[in-house]
Symmetry: C2
């Protein structure tokens, strides 16, 4: 059993080309013994975004705080605190926090452990 919180979890700037105003934390991971999948948390500042990218694995998201857009090839889809989202393997996508927002967009991004 392992209990933690974001204030006890190291912050890093993710190594993702095209990311802007984003930091990453990994509160529950393979390093803690997670057998199958991991909980990462991304914080996106106002005006920031993750890359518009694809990868060969899904992610399951929960919006902890803030609001913004989950973008795919069909356009911008609004998301806000309390929403759940799933992006499928190979689906091109991006999270954006508009510059006009006052607060950070904070989300859990759970992935299979090998893609942590």
């Amino acid at each position: 059993m392992h209990i933690t919180s974001l204030d006890k979890t190291e912050k890093s700037v993710p190594n993702m080309e095209g990311a802007k105003g984003v930091y990453k934390q990994v509160p529950l991971s393979a390093r803690d013994g997670a057998p199958n999948f991991s909980f990462r948390v991304f914080t996106i500042e106002p005006g920031g975004n993750t890359p518009f990218h694809t990868h060969p694995y899904e992610h399951l998201n929960y919006i902890i705080d803030g609001s913004g857009f989950l973008v795919d090839e069909s356009g911008e889809h609004p998301v806000s605190k309390g929403d759940f989202a799933m992006v499928m393997p190979g689906e091109k996508h991006q999270y954006r926090n508009p510059a006009k927002n006052c607060g950070n967009l904070v989300m859990i991004c759970a992935v299979p452990s090998q893609f942590e």
Copy 2:
């Protein structure tokens, strides 16, 4: 891509012997095409609890709201809004929301899809 929220997600009383004052929602699941793991949400009313039980799979939790205890064979461990927890396969555990609390304990409980 799939975006949803708890107010759009069916509630059910889980089929778990020993559960009290608990309901279950499954916002992201194999039914939505989740390839590897699913996000379930359990809501535990004040005075309620999940069974003190074990299962052959892990779960990764995020406390969306409220406070209470994650119990294992070593005792009661306090958890509250914003905490992350991981329970390993075979580890005996229970979530409890004390009767003196005013609000529900609401948590994401993510599991491999086959155990959804």
